[in-house]
Amino acid sequence: MNILVPIKQVPDLVEELEINEEGTDLNRDAVKYKINEFDDHALEEALQLKAEVGGTVTVLALDGDETDKMLYTAIAKGADKGVKVTGDFAGGVTSHVAAKAMANAISTLPHDLILTGVQAVDDRDGQMAVLLANYLGVPHVSVVTGVKVDGGRAIVHKEYAGGVMAEFEVDLPAVLGIQAARETPRYVAVSRVRQVQKEATLEEVEAGDTAVAAGSSVRRMMKPEKGSRAEMIEGSPEEIADKIVALMKEKGLKK
């Protein structure tokens, strides 16, 4: 079975995010990137599936800064191949363009099951999984937590609110938007990534025509208004703990 995993990098939210002078994008020079955590779950689920039913896992990413390192890391974790989708992606792309580029690349590769993260913190114009499936013309299920493969079909669990889930049977090939892998995504040592970087070669596939039918663009980016900002409690840990207990007493929750 050919399992494909499109992955991408997103700004690390632990760092302060700066807005550019035009107020239309992040100041990308100041951004520290990390793999989209949901893509990391998609990769883990793919590796688990491979261990279960065999096949190969191919990770794909649009070419950009540090793409190589992210792909090598995925290979170090157990992916068989890394593919860079090349094209003009400087300055960032919309989710639609990214999905179209990914769909073009994937249509040139054998694919039975495509797993990608359910969402990312920057997918302003929609999530990769469903956009990609519709460009490819294959079925999709998003917000998936459990995947089993049975012949030419996948059995998946889709999460709704309140812990309720629905089970679907999906004909392959299909795209699944992964919410969480069955196991916590594995960790790989930096030394192992460096070793892979010396031994493995990344393949390249051209993105081709990424024009999309209709789009949207950013008019303004801003920090949310802080109108209802919390009253901040300062002091020693001792004073803070006292204050929290006092707040609870006011609510009649502590004697």
Partner: protein, 322 residues
Amino acid sequence: MSQDIFVVAEHLKGKLADVTFEMLGKGRELADARGGNLVAVLLGNGVKNLVTEMGIANRVISVEHASLENFNPETYSTALAEVIRAKSPAATLVANSSMGMDLAAALSIRAGLPLVAYAIDVKVEDGALVATSQLYGGKLNVESQFSAEGAVVSMLAGASSADKGRATGSPAVEDFAPPLSLASPKVRFKKMIEPEGGDVDITTKEVLVSVGRGIQSVDNIPQMQELADALGGALSCSRPIVDSKWLPKTRQVGKSGVKVKPKFYLALGISGAPEHIEGMKDAELIVAINSDPNAPIFDYAHYGIVGDLFDIVPLLTEKAKA
């Protein structure tokens, strides 16, 4: 292109979701601003009784078919795309929910319409739609403009008032013939899976100590449980904790977990991603401890503490026991 605003009515187990009313309320404003009608799109099988709850709409377009009995990413997308292609509304509002995520992007591609996701607001400015999305885990808001009419906007739950969209009545119902292609879908609904019972029901607790990524390790769960016990409450959490299997799914607060409304909600090491906020913002008293002064949780908490939760938790446990 009409001036009408369409709202896709989300429902589960015969009940309209709150977000449906939120979108109807917002849709009413937009329809009035554009001088068009507010139209609800109701997909399902035997759910027409829900029409009477959507009195705020001028009209309801109903598509009924056996393959729409339960939500299905494929059949719902197919039916919705047919409706939107046939009617060309000025905009279509879809929930940015588990179901809506399978619909909005599909509609955008199939009908060739622009899409903006994670919207917390949509307005009409000089006749054109502008949508505001909440991105980067709630740290930034982004206003988008559309390159074409017919925008698809997927709306975050809890962003606007559901009460504004609630009105009983009997809007005209237009039956829309289900597309023939619904007959043999490649995605087939099998069954619903209810959450496992037997665990603490966090929706009934007056006090919740809720933990997030900031607790760093599963080894710190007992310490947090001890605090919850001392405060007479239960331990709940944000999604990453459940994904890491540090706590069971029954303890998850937020979009794919449960909605809670305790008297006291202590958020420890929770940054406050929109998916989490959706589940706890109505708590009576919210106190948050986080090391990041810019964490969005401080925009929702009543009291905030910037600091190391491990400095405070042991002292608080001790004082609560006293």
